[in-house]
Amino acid sequence: MSEQIIVKERDEVIVRFSGDSGDGMQLAGNIFSTVSATVGNDICTFPDYPADIRAPQGSLTGVSGFQVHIGSGKVYTPGDLCDVLVAMNAAALKTQYRYAKPDATIIIDTDSFGPADLKKAAFATEDPLAEMNIDADRVVACPITQMVKDCLADSGMEPKAVLKCRNMFALGLVCWLFDRDLNVAFNYLREKFAKKPALAEANIKVIQAGYDYGHNTHSSATNVYRVETKHKVPGRYMDITGNKATAYGFIAAAEKAGLKLYLGSYPITPATDVLHELSKHKSLGVTTVQCEDEIAGCASAVGASYAGALAVTSTSGPGICLKSEAMNLAVIMELPLVVLDVQRGGPATGLPTKSEQTDLLQVLFGRNGESPMPVLAATSPTDCFDAVYMACKIALEHMTPVVLLTDAFVANGSGAFRLPNLAEYAAINPPYVPEELKGTWTPYQRQEENGVRYWAVPGREGFQHILGGLEKDNKTGAISTDPENHDLMTRLRQQKIDAIPVPDLVVEGDDEDAELLIVGFGGTYGHLHAAMDEMRAAGKKVALAHFKYINPLPKNTAEVLRKYPKVVVAEQNSGQLAAWLRMKVDGFVPCQYNEVKGQPFSTNQLISVFTKMMEE
């Protein structure tokens, strides 16, 4: 299984600015190149001027483009197809879209897509996106012209001069997407317009406005990150982001289980795309309810679960805080529920668009009472599919809420996804109460082999029962405050979770004789694997044990962790997995590497830290 993993980061990004020849695309592109060069990127640019210098405004022949290829390694070409296309008008979209990758993010100025603009650009309908078969989800549609006008309303500038600043808005937005330091751009402009300080400040104001727009709308460029294996298994592939793979996993699990899929959700960055994706697929019978709040998202899913659906709620960390009580209701009622937590920077609102692994202990322990809950963590964008599928299978077969952790990096990142064949996936068999138990059945009657109670879905005659948040008698299912019964029920709920079978932990790399075992979980798999690959290539004895199943832990966890002379737990939090492992494995005291920057690990940084640890 030691496939070589490649994590492609922001170091391979191509941005194409396009608009009317008078829109200042060259300047925007140049500033973006300069800003990127200052942070140490290598750059290669390609100005693509129109053939017709004096083409009419908004016409197809008047479109000007400027392509910037930035990379942390050596960049030799301006790149073929772009990851981000800025189209300042309809003609630009029409002519430049061919230079965009199929999954590129498209930024458009909606104010330049009016009927006259569309006509000049030879669009046949009023819906240019549909006409060009562009997925609206990939489009950042922004009224740039109006926002620039508003931004400079008090500047005293001529309307024509104001419009010339539109390019800076687009630049600001692109700088937001790629986390560029605006000060470099500001300095550039102050120098360039040294003799016209008012003009410099107007441009700066607009750049800031574009940046703030990105911030306020939580804009993100999808597919900026890719996690891939170098050698692919033969088959048919598609590109997929983590959030889309997650949505697909839910759909697949529901189909396999023969159940209606119900999503109760409330919009929250960076999880909202799952709500968007699932809302599209009504032809598969998917039911999505955008609820009044996070609580209702989870509570309604509990109601849907009771009614017999595969019930799901999707959110990020702050939403988990709000859903906790309803999640606990599913614990005591022993109903299947999958809670998706796309982790972001915290605490509180924190860093909504950034990635962290800081919700682990929250989902393990953040509820009142003894509240055991299975937790899984997807390891890559494409792994979201399998991880969700397993989360659904566990929830449905073991009658329990399950948390699936992903994170902003995995959710917005992408990879080549081998189209799954559902026939090859394990069956999902919920423990429906057998008809012959009618008359004797009680709600907390358990199956001997795994301690799981039966599921009696409303509508079945003779199985009427009342569940609830109050403790129940283990035999009759009636409300009980009996001390011995509560103690027993607490144990039974825990034993049921402990008995869930999960695959053994796999050790990759030098599993026999590693001097250092790297341990991680969830979305850092690609970076940790890449670090291990490079260290091994340099002759170091290193192995990687990466957790996808966190509760219950794989049976061989203690054995693996004790096998190697040195173990480092590397995670994007202050040591939450390390704390969990120390709690579960007697005497285990690992080295730790922790980063809480809201950014993915840097492979080079990991290598340097791990190498140093090996030398100590």
Partner: protein, 335 residues
């Protein structure tokens, strides 16, 4: 209407409420109403939150859940949307439904989910032993307001109408015929149906609805509203309601030239809720308290619209299985 069920078919267990609690009366009426409605017990889900009245599902031989505080409407929403075939009843007290659960109450009404929403209003927190609730009147003295509250209460009808509710009815818990009547009307109404049940708490708020709690009191202090019928009340139906300017007034029939023909006729189906709201907000001593179905207006329901949209999209889209969904993407072959 005869059905094959009796009230007994919907009963289970022995209620644990205090003797004399209004919940006992309501429960009996609910059993009776369900028998008359005739939906099989296994096709009913009764969902409550937390509070004295939220114990109710335990006394139903139906499916149901006694869930967590305030969330009954949200949980019932998921239950109904996931399985529209079920007859879903949501039971909450005034604290559960309008304080901690206020958000879900208004949104269930706004969405118009086909739920029967029972609001057992005793204007007090009973289970936590006597604190004021969001329906307690201003100045109400309770354990948590020893010097009287300094806040105004919600009036449930106003909240329901403000959330664009299409059905609102009211009954007194001890008034079985009216309670059964509005429960049946709530079931018959497609969409969110709010039934406010005026209910006494014998321990912490005894007498809160005294003016209408017995038959004699209701004859004097309440008016039964029936669609298409003139709004008359009083021991001998000698009083009636008329419109005066922007408001209502109580008149005595036969006095000052007022005849029965001058009396307002109730229109529960009127889409404009202005007069219905005025009726719902009437209070003593100047006005009778309105009982019966005050508003009952047809409107598209959320759960049916969800189903219809799914059917429509199924018809339009070419992919109906996961495998077909995959192939709607750009794909390539790796050999």
């Amino acid at each position: 209407m005869e059905t094959k069920y009796t009230a007994q078919d919907y009963k289970k267990g022995q209620p644990r409420w205090c003797p004399g609690c209004g919940d006992h009366f309501f429960l009996a009426s609910l059993h009776k109403a369900m028998a008359e409605i005739g939906v099989a017990p296994h096709n009913i889900a009764v969902i409550s939150g937390i509070g004295c009245s939220s114990r109710l599902p335990h006394y139903m031989n139906t499916y149901g859940m006694n869930t967590i505080h305030g969330r009954a409407a949200a949980i019932a929403t998921g239950c109904k949307v996931a399985n529209p075939e079920l007859s879903v009843w949501q039971v909450s007290g005034d604290g559960d439904g309008l304080a901690i659960g206020g958000n879900h109450f208004i949104h269930a009404n706004r969405r118009n989910i086909n739920l029967n929403m029972i609001l057992l209003n005793n204007r007090i927190y009973g289970l936590t032993k006597g604190q004021y609730s969001p329906t307690s009147p201003r100045g109400f003295v309770s354990k948590s307001s020893p010097y009287g509250t300094v806040e105004d209460p919600f009036r449930p009808a106003e909240l329901c109408f403000g959330a664009r509710g299409h059905f609102f009815a009211r009954a007194v818990a001890t008034d079985a015929p009216c309670t059964v009547e509005i429960l049946k009307a709530a079931h018959a109404h497609k969409g969110a149906s709010v039934c406010e049940i005026l209910q006494n708490c014998v321990i912490f708020n005894d007498g809160t609805h005294d003016s209408v709690y017995n038959k004699e009191g209701r004859a004097k202090n309440a008016i039964y509203l029936r669609h298409g019928q003139p709004m008359v009340f009083g021991v001998n139906n000698e009083y009636g309601l008329m419109q005066e300017g922007f408001g209502l007034k109580v008149v005595k029939i036969g006095e000052n030239g007022v005849t029965i023909d001058d009396i307002l006729v109730h229109d529960a189906h009127c889409e404009d809720n202005t007069l219905q709201l005025k009726l719902a907000l009437m209070e003593g001593p100047d006005f009778p308290i309105a009982l019966g179905v005050i508003r009952d207006v047809e409107a598209p329901t959320y759960d049916e619209a969800v189903e219809a949209q799914i059917a429509e999209v199924k018809e339009k889209k070419a992919y109906h299985t996961f495998e077909e969904l995959l192939l709607t993407n750009d794909t390539w072959e790796v050999k």
